[in-house]
Symmetry: C2
Subunit: 69 residues, 2 copies
DNA sequence: TTTAAAGGTAAAGTATACTTTACGTACATG
DNA sequence: CATGTACGTAAAGTATACTTTACCTTTAAA
C-alpha cells in the first residue's frame, strides 16, 4: 500500500515530530509510515485522515494484489 | 470503532463463510469483526470496502475518543 | 568548526490482528 | 429423533503495528 503522508505533511508545513505528538504516536511511527515500512492500523489511518481533513482513500492508496492480512 | 459489516453482508445475501473465502480471511475473522471483537487491518478494510463497492468510511465508523493504536 | 534541528533506522519488547482447531448453540428439514 | 447449515466463541500460535531507547547522517546556521 502506498501513501501520500509525507507529501501531505510537508504541504501543511508540519514536522514528523509535531504530527506524532498530535496523533499520539511516536515519531518513529510517522517516519516508518512515510517510508513504507508498514501500514497503519485503521484507527491511526482514521486519525491521520481526520487531522488532514481528508478521506482515508485520499491518503492511503490501495492497489490490490496485496498479500498481508 | 463501529462497523456495518454484518448489516451490509446480509443485505447482499452472502454468508460469513463465503465472504471469508472471497476476502481470503478465516470465517472467525469475519465473525469477530461483525461482533466488534477487534478492528480490521487497513488492508482488510480496503478489501472489504472494495468488495462491497463502498468507501471505508461508509462501512467503518470512527467516532474518535479511541485509545488503541 | 561546533551546535542544533530534522529525519532515518536498528534492536528488543508489547499489543493486537489474524490463523487453525475445535466445540457449542439454534434452527430447519429428513 | 437425526443430520446439516449458519453462526458464536475459546485457546494457542504467528504476523505485524507500534513503543522506547538510542545512535547516525545531513543541513543550516552561530
Amino acid at each position: 500500500m502506498k501513501n501520500r503522508l509525507g507529501e501531505i505533511r510537508k504541504e501543511r508545513g508540519i514536522k514528523q515530530d509535531e504530527l506524532a505528538e498530535i496523533l499520539e504516536v511516536s515519531r518513529q511511527t510517522i517516519s516508518s509510515l512515510e517510508n513504507g515500512k508498514y501500514n497503519p492500523s485503521i484507527l491511526l489511518a482514521f486519525k491521520i485522515a481526520r487531522y488532514f481533513n481528508m478521506s482515508i482513500e485520499e491518503i492511503f492508496i490501495y492497489e490490490g494484489e496485496e498479500n498481508g492480512k
